[in-house]
Protein backbone atom coordinates (compact mmCIF):
# COMPACT_ATOMS: atom_id res chain seq x y z
CA UNK A 1 0.00 0.00 0.00
CA UNK A 2 1.24 3.50 -0.68
CA UNK A 3 -0.02 7.05 -0.54
CA UNK A 4 -0.61 8.41 -4.03
CA UNK A 5 -3.31 11.01 -3.42
CA UNK A 6 -4.05 13.89 -1.09
CA UNK A 7 -7.00 16.23 -1.35
CA UNK A 8 -8.11 19.75 -0.57
CA UNK A 9 -11.77 20.77 -0.43
CA UNK A 10 -12.31 23.68 -2.78
CA UNK A 11 -15.35 25.91 -3.24
CA UNK A 12 -14.96 26.02 -7.05
CA UNK A 13 -12.95 23.51 -9.05
CA UNK A 14 -12.19 25.77 -12.02
CA UNK A 15 -11.06 28.63 -9.78
CA UNK A 16 -8.98 26.15 -7.78
CA UNK A 17 -7.33 24.78 -10.91
CA UNK A 18 -6.34 28.32 -11.93
CA UNK A 19 -4.90 29.11 -8.50
CA UNK A 20 -3.10 25.81 -7.98
CA UNK A 21 -1.54 25.90 -11.48
CA UNK A 22 -1.14 29.58 -12.47
CA UNK A 23 -0.21 30.87 -9.03
CA UNK A 24 1.24 27.95 -7.07
CA UNK A 25 2.86 26.36 -10.12
CA UNK A 26 1.43 22.83 -10.01
CA UNK A 27 0.48 21.04 -13.26
CA UNK A 28 -2.84 19.50 -14.15
CA UNK A 29 -2.60 15.70 -14.19
CA UNK A 30 -6.10 14.23 -14.41
CA UNK A 31 -9.31 15.92 -15.44
CA UNK A 32 -12.20 13.47 -15.74
CA UNK A 33 -15.79 14.55 -16.09
CA UNK A 34 -17.91 12.90 -13.40
CA UNK A 35 -21.10 14.75 -14.21
CA UNK A 36 -21.65 17.01 -11.24
CA UNK A 37 -17.94 17.36 -10.54
CA UNK A 38 -14.56 16.54 -12.04
CA UNK A 39 -11.85 14.15 -10.92
CA UNK A 40 -9.32 16.92 -11.01
CA UNK A 41 -5.76 16.45 -9.82
CA UNK A 42 -2.55 18.45 -9.97
CA UNK A 43 1.06 17.42 -9.40
CA UNK A 44 4.31 19.17 -8.68
CA UNK A 45 6.37 19.81 -11.84
CA UNK A 46 9.33 18.46 -9.82
CA UNK A 47 7.53 15.12 -9.35
CA UNK A 48 5.08 14.59 -12.22
CA UNK A 49 4.62 10.94 -11.17
CA UNK A 50 4.50 11.78 -7.48
CA UNK A 51 1.57 12.27 -5.12
CA UNK A 52 -1.43 13.87 -6.80
CA UNK A 53 -3.44 16.59 -5.14
CA UNK A 54 -7.16 16.18 -5.71
CA UNK A 55 -9.10 19.46 -5.96
CA UNK A 56 -12.24 18.09 -4.42
CA UNK A 57 -15.56 19.96 -4.26
CA UNK A 58 -16.58 21.07 -0.75
CA UNK A 59 -20.26 20.51 -1.51
CA UNK A 60 -20.86 18.17 1.44
CA UNK A 61 -22.79 20.25 4.02
CA UNK A 62 -20.23 19.50 6.74
CA UNK A 63 -17.26 20.62 4.66
CA UNK A 64 -17.74 24.38 4.67
CA UNK A 65 -18.34 24.86 8.41
CA UNK A 66 -15.30 22.65 9.02
CA UNK A 67 -13.17 24.74 6.66
CA UNK A 68 -14.38 28.00 8.22
CA UNK A 69 -13.59 26.75 11.72
CA UNK A 70 -10.02 25.98 10.66
CA UNK A 71 -9.61 29.39 9.02
CA UNK A 72 -10.98 31.06 12.18
CA UNK A 73 -8.12 29.62 14.18
CA UNK A 74 -5.56 30.16 11.42
CA UNK A 75 -5.06 26.41 10.94
CA UNK A 76 -3.78 25.30 7.52
CA UNK A 77 -5.62 22.43 5.85
CA UNK A 78 -2.38 20.95 4.54
CA UNK A 79 1.28 21.77 4.01
CA UNK A 80 3.53 21.82 0.95
CA UNK A 81 7.31 21.55 0.90
CA UNK A 82 9.33 24.38 -0.64
CA UNK A 83 13.09 25.02 -0.87
CA UNK A 84 12.98 28.51 0.60
CA UNK A 85 9.95 29.80 2.50
CA UNK A 86 11.00 33.47 2.38
CA UNK A 87 11.57 33.41 -1.36
CA UNK A 88 8.34 31.52 -2.07
CA UNK A 89 6.41 33.96 0.13
CA UNK A 90 7.78 36.91 -1.83
CA UNK A 91 6.95 35.20 -5.12
CA UNK A 92 3.36 34.42 -4.07
CA UNK A 93 2.86 37.88 -2.61
CA UNK A 94 3.79 39.19 -6.06
CA UNK A 95 0.77 37.27 -7.33
CA UNK A 96 -1.44 38.98 -4.75
CA UNK A 97 -1.62 36.00 -2.38
CA UNK A 98 -2.68 36.84 1.20
CA UNK A 99 -0.61 35.47 4.08
CA UNK A 100 -2.00 34.90 7.59
CA UNK A 101 1.42 33.94 8.89
CA UNK A 102 4.66 35.49 7.71
CA UNK A 103 7.69 33.21 7.36
CA UNK A 104 8.53 32.10 10.89
CA UNK A 105 11.32 29.97 12.23
CA UNK A 106 9.71 27.25 14.34
CA UNK A 107 12.64 25.27 15.71
CA UNK A 108 13.82 22.92 12.94
CA UNK A 109 11.42 24.27 10.29
CA UNK A 110 10.47 27.59 8.78
CA UNK A 111 6.79 27.93 7.88
CA UNK A 112 4.37 30.44 6.45
CA UNK A 113 0.59 30.25 5.89
CA UNK A 114 -1.43 31.67 3.01
CA UNK A 115 -5.02 31.72 1.74
CA UNK A 116 -5.68 29.52 -1.32
CA UNK A 117 -8.73 31.65 -2.30
CA UNK A 118 -10.85 28.45 -2.29
CA UNK A 119 -11.65 28.48 1.42
CA UNK A 120 -8.43 27.01 2.84
CA UNK A 121 -5.29 28.13 4.52
CA UNK A 122 -2.19 26.32 3.26
CA UNK A 123 1.19 26.05 4.94
CA UNK A 124 4.51 26.07 3.15
CA UNK A 125 7.48 24.64 5.03
CA UNK A 126 11.20 24.03 4.65
CA UNK A 127 13.66 22.40 7.00
CA UNK A 128 16.25 24.83 8.32
CA UNK A 129 19.94 24.26 7.59
CA UNK A 130 21.52 22.74 10.69
CA UNK A 131 23.61 25.55 12.17
Amino acid sequence: MKVNLASVYVDDQEKALRFYTDVLGFRKKQDIDLGEARWLTVVSPDEPDGVELLLEPDSHPAARPFKQALVDDGIPFTSFAVDDVERETERLRGHGVTFTQEPTEMGPVTTAVFDDTCGNLIQIAAMNEPS
Partner: protein, 100 residues
Protein backbone atom coordinates in the same frame (compact mmCIF):
# COMPACT_ATOMS: atom_id res chain seq x y z
CA UNK B 1 -9.80 52.63 32.61
CA UNK B 2 -10.91 50.75 35.73
CA UNK B 3 -7.66 50.85 37.62
CA UNK B 4 -8.90 49.24 40.82
CA UNK B 5 -10.96 46.49 39.17
CA UNK B 6 -8.56 45.85 36.32
CA UNK B 7 -5.35 45.52 38.21
CA UNK B 8 -6.31 42.21 39.84
CA UNK B 9 -7.05 40.68 36.42
CA UNK B 10 -3.82 42.11 35.13
CA UNK B 11 -1.65 40.44 37.75
CA UNK B 12 -3.60 37.21 37.51
CA UNK B 13 -3.07 37.22 33.76
CA UNK B 14 0.67 37.81 34.17
CA UNK B 15 1.05 35.19 36.91
CA UNK B 16 1.08 32.30 34.44
CA UNK B 17 4.34 31.45 32.63
CA UNK B 18 2.58 30.27 29.45
CA UNK B 19 0.68 33.56 29.24
CA UNK B 20 3.92 35.49 29.68
CA UNK B 21 5.45 33.46 26.84
CA UNK B 22 2.46 34.33 24.65
CA UNK B 23 3.09 38.02 25.36
CA UNK B 24 6.82 37.53 24.59
CA UNK B 25 5.96 35.98 21.23
CA UNK B 26 3.50 38.76 20.40
CA UNK B 27 6.23 41.25 21.29
CA UNK B 28 8.44 39.57 18.70
CA UNK B 29 5.70 39.74 16.07
CA UNK B 30 2.42 41.50 16.71
CA UNK B 31 -0.77 40.11 15.15
CA UNK B 32 -0.75 36.31 15.16
CA UNK B 33 -3.37 33.65 14.52
CA UNK B 34 -4.11 31.04 17.19
CA UNK B 35 -2.26 28.54 14.97
CA UNK B 36 0.91 30.61 14.91
CA UNK B 37 0.83 31.20 18.67
CA UNK B 38 0.40 27.45 19.32
CA UNK B 39 3.18 26.63 16.85
CA UNK B 40 5.61 29.03 18.49
CA UNK B 41 4.85 27.73 21.99
CA UNK B 42 5.40 24.12 20.93
CA UNK B 43 8.32 24.50 18.55
CA UNK B 44 10.25 27.25 20.35
CA UNK B 45 9.40 26.63 23.97
CA UNK B 46 8.38 22.98 24.15
CA UNK B 47 5.00 23.96 25.60
CA UNK B 48 2.71 21.26 24.25
CA UNK B 49 -0.54 22.66 25.64
CA UNK B 50 -3.73 21.86 23.77
CA UNK B 51 -5.17 24.40 21.40
CA UNK B 52 -8.15 24.74 23.74
CA UNK B 53 -5.84 25.51 26.67
CA UNK B 54 -4.02 28.19 24.67
CA UNK B 55 -7.36 29.59 23.57
CA UNK B 56 -8.36 29.90 27.25
CA UNK B 57 -5.07 31.63 28.06
CA UNK B 58 -5.81 34.09 25.26
CA UNK B 59 -9.27 34.73 26.77
CA UNK B 60 -7.68 35.58 30.13
CA UNK B 61 -5.17 37.92 28.47
CA UNK B 62 -7.96 39.56 26.51
CA UNK B 63 -10.09 40.02 29.65
CA UNK B 64 -7.12 41.73 31.32
CA UNK B 65 -6.81 44.02 28.31
CA UNK B 66 -3.31 42.75 27.47
CA UNK B 67 -4.27 41.49 24.05
CA UNK B 68 -6.79 42.62 21.50
CA UNK B 69 -8.42 40.38 18.94
CA UNK B 70 -8.75 41.84 15.45
CA UNK B 71 -10.99 40.32 12.81
CA UNK B 72 -9.87 40.83 9.26
CA UNK B 73 -12.36 39.22 6.91
CA UNK B 74 -12.31 35.52 7.70
CA UNK B 75 -9.09 35.72 9.72
CA UNK B 76 -8.57 36.46 13.41
CA UNK B 77 -5.35 38.02 14.71
CA UNK B 78 -4.15 38.59 18.28
CA UNK B 79 -2.38 41.84 19.09
CA UNK B 80 -0.39 42.86 22.14
CA UNK B 81 -1.70 45.80 24.15
CA UNK B 82 0.80 46.82 26.79
CA UNK B 83 -1.20 49.89 27.86
CA UNK B 84 -2.64 48.28 31.03
CA UNK B 85 0.93 47.88 32.28
CA UNK B 86 1.01 51.66 32.53
CA UNK B 87 -1.09 51.22 35.67
CA UNK B 88 1.84 49.44 37.28
CA UNK B 89 4.24 52.20 36.27
CA UNK B 90 1.85 54.92 37.43
CA UNK B 91 1.33 53.29 40.79
CA UNK B 92 4.88 52.46 41.79
CA UNK B 93 7.39 53.82 39.31
CA UNK B 94 5.94 57.28 38.77
CA UNK B 95 3.72 57.98 41.80
CA UNK B 96 5.04 61.54 42.18
CA UNK B 97 3.69 62.44 38.76
CA UNK B 98 0.16 62.14 40.05
CA UNK B 99 0.77 64.76 42.78
CA UNK B 100 2.34 67.75 41.05
Amino acid sequence: MHIIDGVGDLFKALADPTRRKILDELTERDGQTLFEICGRLVMKHGLGSSRQAISQHLDVLEAAGLIEVRREGRYKFHHLNAAPLEQVAERWLRPAKEKP
